[in-house]
């Protein structure tokens, strides 16, 4: 199976928000009205029940004009996903589609993933069970993995009327992206394809009209040193240490018993 990706060409977005509606609709997510905060952007940011948001960034162009920078903000489906690494319950995993998904049965709502996603994507939803007890689950865009399994495209993609969102073969999409980038360079000199190699690329790739930081994205996200120390050293070492401690205690007990036994034959007085 060829690799497929979701591609977001923000320069084609007209801010219609059809993808937001389609996502809520398909995933049965409750509407989350927010206070008007003076921005025409509908929601401040992603939440556990709002898996994509069109962000509106105001910008002054080189010739003094004003324009909106739109971006369909949702999970990047990182090749090396911080959320997945952070999860102590292995509730987050990659599917064969390259999407990063949360297993709600395994999730205990600890929020480790929330604090470790560099893109501020994954969030906790609070539920109440039959007994009235509250519990939390991490939720985010799953690239409509359920639809992919049926051979359908993500709901947001099918709803997009400007072709800003596409879902297609990776090679093909990326080649077209390069062509498009060359074309828009004149109008957007800082335009770039956002597919960070530091995290082994992403399954949702962006063509951005300006530098990533303009959109509040890290310029060059990498697997953080803290993550490497944690996953590759601390955890195996921790297990080893526990093992070593146990072995030392057992070893000491055995050798003490043996040596004490000898001592007794020599007429030992030490019985305790």
């Amino acid at each position: 199976m060829a690799d497929y990706i979701k591609f977001v060409d923000v320069t084609k977005c007209d801010g219609c928000r059809a993808c937001m509606v389609a996502c809520k609709n398909w995933n049965d997510l409750p509407a989350q009205p927010e206070e008007f905060t003076g921005s025409i952007q509908s929601h401040n940011t992603l939440t556990a029940n709002t898996w994509n948001v069109i962000t509106y960034d105001e910008q002054v162009t080189a010739n003094g004009n004003f324009e909106w920078l739109f971006r369909h903000k949702s999970c990047h489906h990182c090749g090396e996903a911080f959320c997945e690494k952070a999860c102590p319950e292995t509730a987050i995993s990659h599917t064969k589609f390259g999407s990063v998904v949360v297993d709600a049965d395994k999730c205990v709502g600890c929020g480790y993933c929330v604090n470790n996603c560099q893109f501020g994507v994954i969030q906790l939803a609070t539920y109440v069970d039959d007994k009235g007890k509250e519990y939390r689950k991490a939720q985010k865009c799953d690239l409509c993995t359920g639809r992919l399994e049926e051979g359908l495209r993500p709901a947001c993609v099918t709803s997009c009327h400007t072709n800003c969102l596409v879902y297609d073969e990776k090679e093909k999409v990326l080649a077209e992206a390069e062509k498009r980038l060359a074309k828009i360079k004149e109008r957007f000199p800082n335009a770039n394809i956002y597919n960070p190699p530091g995290i082994k690329g992403t399954t949702t790739v962006y063509l951005l009209a300006d530098k990533p930081t303009v959109y509040g994205l890290p310029e060059d996200p990498k697997v953080a040193l803290s993550q490497i120390v944690w996953k590759d050293y601390a955890q195996p070492l921790g297990k080893m240490m526990l093992g070593a401690t146990t072995m030392a205690v057992i070893g000491a007990a055995i050798s003490t018993a043996i040596n004490k036994g000898k001592g007794e034959h020599e007429g030992g007085q030490d019985h305790e």
């Binding site: 952070a86 102590p88 319950e89 205990v108 709502g109 600890c110 480790y112 604090n115 470790n116 560099q118 007890k133 509250e134 519990y135 939390r136 953080a224 803290s226 993550q227 120390v229 944690w230 601390a234 955890q235 070492l237 921790g238 240490m241 526990l242 070593a244 401690t245 146990t246 030392a248 205690v249 070893g251 000491a252 007990a253 050798s255 003490t256 018993a257 043996i258 040596n259 004490k260 001592g263 305790e272």
Partner: protein, 223 residues
Amino acid sequence: MSNEKTPKTIKRFNKGFIVAHWVNAIAFFTLYISALPMYTEFFDWLYVVFGGPAGARLVHRIAAVAFMLPLFIMIIFDFKGFKNWMKNIFSWKKHDLMFFPQFLREFFGLKAKVPKQDFFNAGEKINSWLMIVTTLMLISSGLVMWFPAFFPSAVLWWAYPIHNIGLGLAVAVAVGHIYMSLVTARPSMRGITKGDVTEEYAKDHHGRWYDELQEEKQQRKQA
């Protein structure tokens, strides 16, 4: 020492020190148990015990507060004991270093001649240091994880591995400490429960402290 005659037992720890020790021990154990199901699926049944992950989190946070108290308990209720502890763990002399090779022999049941030790022997000094360091690691990183909104992401990201490493070290220290107190130095248990130890134990295990006490007594007699 109010008792002028040779006493059978010697006062070792004050109430403040003892309470601080056990608050620390119980809090640590509770923290450990309430975190355990997060580390391996094998302990998932513990979630049930705590009434779900949310319950485990609540217990963990309550115990976390208790875990921060011992230092204050010690300072407020037994400042003398605290000072003595600090003085001891900062003092490293030849008899401290000589302790380890001899102790290892003893630990594995061989003949050993451990040099006379201070109020805290070199092993207890090391244990104290490891405990202080791991406790600081756990508390500082734990607070960051508890209140993530107040810290920059780089700090937040480091908090997780530090909490994890702190836990691994702390458990090793705790296991060593418990093993030691139960197996090799049983009479010391009396010191940290009732507060006193037999004179014989003091002489055998904390010779330099015992000598100091004798000297003091001598001086008081002369005065």
